[in-house]
Symmetry: C2
Subunit: 136 residues, 2 copies
DNA sequence: AACACATTGCTATTGTAAATAGCATTTTTG
DNA sequence: CAAAAATGCTATTTACAATAGCAATGTGTT
């Protein structure tokens, strides 16, 4: 029908991302996490002692918006902030945070597998490198 | 560095879409259009006499949100609404609307070409079918 | 024809994510 | 040491999408 729009990579990208995030959000909501929060937890698990601004730079979240995000994770007992020097704070997972991202991570892995399964086999291995080439 | 996140297709999709829309928005803003508005104009140009709800279904925009969008396009003189029956309105481009989407469409085409050019040649032709398989 | 039901376009409101601007403190650098 | 940059934060604003409800019209069934 509207093949015109589906022939524009930009539009397809927009629709695909909306669709996928719209599916992922309720899954993570089942773990009481938002998408951006899960991304922070994954990153913090991989790399210890990151500061708020380092996380923000990596995930493309502005400093001002990191504050309420980290506040929520901290008051949920998932992370803790520890002073590095008199200016910076190291962000690390708590025990609860490790457990949380462990179970949520499993759900994400399943989700990602299902996502890739939707892509025809001949295109599947090209998706990730193509996407990463666009933004990295 | 954070290869973990870049290995998740869902995350790469999110970041790529954000990056691309973040680049497209100011280009369209130069034509006094938002992304969703440009999509409507492209659709309406391709298919005459669509109703608001048909456009909404095609572009995945809710009826309630179609109203201010179409209002803006109409008051900008780009579209006009004409009664089909006593309930429905046909949306069509005005002369100005045709001119607008003609010039904006050229900018979009250039943008899309540049977007594809970023993708390594061996992955390029797989991007669109892979994305469309995800949401269509 | 009469009825229940769905659709259309709309209003009004809410919620949420992201952007902007500014500030005090601290660190870095030239 | 002085100027500039970085850090974490507050407060505000903007943009966007979601929700609920409504009157009018159209559709389908019996």
């Amino acid at each position: 029908m509207t093949d015109l729009l589906a022939q524009l990579p930009g539009y397809a990208l927009r629709r695909a991302a909306n669709a996928v995030m719209g599916e992922l959000a309720p899954i993570l909501a089942g773990h009481d996490l938002k998408i951006a929060e899960a991304a922070v937890l994954l990153l913090v698990r991989e790399q210890a002692n990151l500061t708020s601004s380092q996380i923000g730079k990596t995930l493309d979240i502005q400093r001002a918006n990191m504050v309420p995000l980290l506040n929520r994770l901290e008051s949920a007992g998932l992370i803790h902030r520890e002073p590095i020097d008199k200016k910076s704070l190291a962000i690390n997972l708590t025990k609860d945070g490790e457990a949380k991202i462990c179970e949520a991570g499993a759900a994400i892995d399943t989700f990602e597998k299902n996502l890739l399964a939707r892509v025809p086999a001949e295109h599947r291995d090209h998706l990730l490198p193509a996407l990463n080439a666009i933004w990295r």
